[in-house]
Amino acid sequence: MGSRLSFVLVVFFFAATLIVAVYLRDANRHVFYTLQTYKIEQGRLQQELWQKQLRVEGLTNPASISQRLDERTVHEIRQ
């Protein structure tokens, strides 16, 4: 009776260890995957911000302002 109980316990703990190991491995993989996803997302947002900054630069640079002023002057003269 005693040896049978020991056998059941060994099997139980062995199975439990396997399940925990698989769970931890899966959790580790999940955390890593999430971290990488966030890193990519952060990079993407940074790039979007940079892109918008470039667009603003394109609109506010001296050449662009001068061109728009010229266009406005021509428009006003026509009116």
């Binding site: 993989r29 995957y33 790039q47 940079w50 892109q51 470039l54 630069e57 001296p62 050449a63 001068s66």
Partner: protein, 618 residues
């Protein structure tokens, strides 16, 4: 009976002996086979390990790992006030991994509406791809397109690439340059500082599952240390986009009005050598270089650095300054200018551009731009002293600016000069210069005779934030010419060229500031070097302001204005008004006080020239 039994036993024993031998033989054979099989297996194992080990190890690594190349972001190029002239931003590229897509037709059909492409086209890209790991489907895809496409099949991925952008377009195209599609600098600063701008790439290695989803970083291999990429350094130029715009706008208007072949302009600080603006026309759009390279590759030329030409009369102040510095003339004496007809044995005939003159001082020679007066000054100087003086001004050798393609100009060694040379070089013939060389020499006059080194890259900002000062170290001792000579040249002689009503540069006069300058109208030499082209001129004007303490100097050269328009073709007519516009806008922008205002005396660092300080020694 007994004997019969014995025979039987003997027979049984014999049979047993035979059977035992057979069993033994069988065992030996089987064992031998086992041993042979064992050795065969061992041999195979050795063969696999020794000969094919690398192959299988590679296959194993390939199966278990995935690589993510990380391209560095190319550094930005900024003007002196931090405005972006060139920068890279990320674009998304949808790609397929053909080796894992078993049904390309079905995948293509599902992708087509998401990527707004034809299913046939997508299918062809996947099937015909030479690379089983990557077939590019769409560049510059939107976030929504990427997200939807990724869900279609695990063999569809998103890749991030860098795209170079030039927010100011043509404004500083010749200075900034451009890159190839794979982000290698091909012209301008992009080319010269390509290594610094490019940075260093990296590669991340992951352990992946059967569906190639990352499980974790692979740190086993020393080669794949999963470092982050080092982004390229940023470059800050001395160029000011606002002054660049003033310069380009004024020059472009004149270039169009006179239907010129080309035009260049440059603005610099004479004290530090900082280039504030550099314009070459015609120019190009740095975002459309592929088309330009095929149709008009000559547009990429930065003519201020590459074009060598006979400068004409804008060269006169340098020869005159050398003569005054070496005391072969003094500013009070008059030189007889032969009433416009000077000829003699050994130097041929020299005439004047407008009219003949009699006795002229050095100041008047420059004011009226007399060729004969300059020829006589050259004769007094002699070949050796003239050559030495011009060498000190830096003619005949590269300035060494941080831009590619700079020419040396041509100042022949004295032993190759003819008897014509000392009479022709002082008024800008028999010598070739670049615009940059002329500007540098003029800076030396404007800053009181000090050596100056023009530069365009102010500093370099590394990705770790470290700022590297790129300003060239200039020798602050010694003078190219005496400060008094330089000061008189700027504040008296060259001021007269612009501010006297009969001066050739009168069209550059400003009300608020005292402008000094020199006009030049050079003929263009024939390609074979024999004589000059008919009705082909380079109209130039070099100027600075304010004369009391020059803050900026400007060079304008307009090549081959259309003479048939009958609007004029001389430096005073074509180029001087451009310089006036640029100087007025730039000085206002820089906040330089106008003459007669309280602020003017406060900022004056160079003593104004006065009659009392003249020691009459030159």
């Amino acid at each position: 009976m007994k004997s019969g039994n014995d025979d039987k036993e003997i027979r049984i024993a014999r049979d047993a002996s035979v059977g035992g031998r057979r069993e033994l033989t069988a065992i030996v054979v089987i064992m031998s086979l086992v041993i042979v099989a064992f050795f065969a297996l061992a041999g195979r194992c050795y063969y696999l390990q020794h000969n094919l080990g690398d192959h299988y190890a590679e296959k194993c690594i390939f199966q278990q790992r995935a690589y993510l190349p990380l391209e560095p972001q190319r550094g930005a190029i900024l003007d002196s006030r931090g405005r972006v002239l060139a920068a890279s931003n990320q674009i998304r590229t949808v790609f397929a991994e053909p080796r894992v897509i078993k049904e390309p037709k079905e995948t293509s059909t599902r992708l087509a509406p998401l990527l707004d492409m034809g299913a046939h086209e997508i299918c062809r890209l996947i099937v015909d791809s030479n690379n089983p790991g990557c077939a590019i489907l769409k560049r510059g895809a939107t976030i929504a397109e990427c997200e939807e496409a990724r869900k279609v099949h695990y063999g569809i991925g998103i890749q991030y690439d860098w795209q170079r952008q030039y927010p100011m377009g043509r404004l500083a195209a010749h200075v900034v340059g451009f890159t190839s599609k794979d982000n290698f600098g091909l012209a301008g600063i992009e080319y010269t500082f390509d290594r610094d701008l490019r940075g260093r790439g990296a590669k991340h290695t992951f352990l992946v599952d059967v569906r190639r989803r990352p499980l974790g970083f692979c740190l086993a291999d020393e080669r794949d240390d999963n470092e982050m990429p080092i982004h390229g350094a940023g470059i800050i130029l001395t160029l000011d986009a606002t002054i660049q715009q003033f310069t380009r706008e004024a020059l472009l208007s004149r270039y169009k009005e006179f239907e010129a072949e080309a035009a260049v302009a440059m603005v610099a600080d004479p004290h530090t050598g900082e280039i504030l603006a550099m314009v070459t026309l015609p120019d190009f759009d740095p975002t459309e270089t592929a088309d330009t390279a095929q149709t008009h590759p000559e547009l990429f030329t930065n003519r201020l650095l590459t074009d060598q030409y006979e400068p004409g009369s804008i060269f006169k102040p340098f020869a005159a300054a050398i003569a005054l510095d070496m005391k072969v003339v003094n500013r009070y004496e008059t030189i007889f200018c032969e009433n416009g007809n000077y000829h003699g044995k050994g130097f041929g005939h020299i005439g004047e551009y407008r009219q003949g003159y009699g006795d002229l001082t050095v100041r008047e020679i420059l004011k009226y731009s007399s060729n004969i007066g300059m020829a006589k000054i050259g004769q007094r100087l002699g070949a050796t002293r003239l050559y030495e003086g011009l060498t000190l001004f830096g003619f005949g050798r590269k300035v060494g600016i941080e831009l590619p393609g700079e020419a040396e100009g041509l100042l022949r060694p004295v032993d190759k000069w003819t008897s014509y040379s000392p009479t022709r070089i002082p008024f800008g013939q028999e010598i070739s210069v670049t615009g940059l060389q002329i500007l540098r020499a003029f800076c030396m006059l404007a800053n009181g005779g000090r050596l100056v080194h023009p530069y365009i890259v102010k500093s370099l900002v590394r990705s770790d934030g470290m700022v590297v000062d790129m300003k060239p170290s200039t020798l602050r001792i010694g003078y190219v010419i005496k400060p008094d000579v330089a000061r008189w040249m700027v504040q008296d002689a060259l001021t007269a060229v612009v501010n006297d009503s009969k001066g050739t540069g009168a069209k550059a006069k400003l009300e608020k500031w005292t402008v000094f300058g020199k006009t030049g109208t050079a003929q263009i030499a024939k390609p074979d070097g024999l004589g000059y082209l008919d009705k082909a001129y380079i109209a130039s004007f070099i100027a600075g302001a304010p004369a009391e303490n020059p803050r900026v100097v400007v060079l304008i050269s307009i090549r081959r204005p259309n003479v048939a328009l009958k609007k004029g073709y001389t430096g005073g007519t074509v180029a001087a008004p451009v310089a006036a516009v640029i100087l007025e806008k730039t000085l206002t922008y820089l906040g330089v006080p106008a003459k007669g205002t309280a602020g003017e005396s406060a900022v004056a660092q160079v003593r104004p020239y006065s009659e009392e300080e003249d020691d009459h020694s030159w």
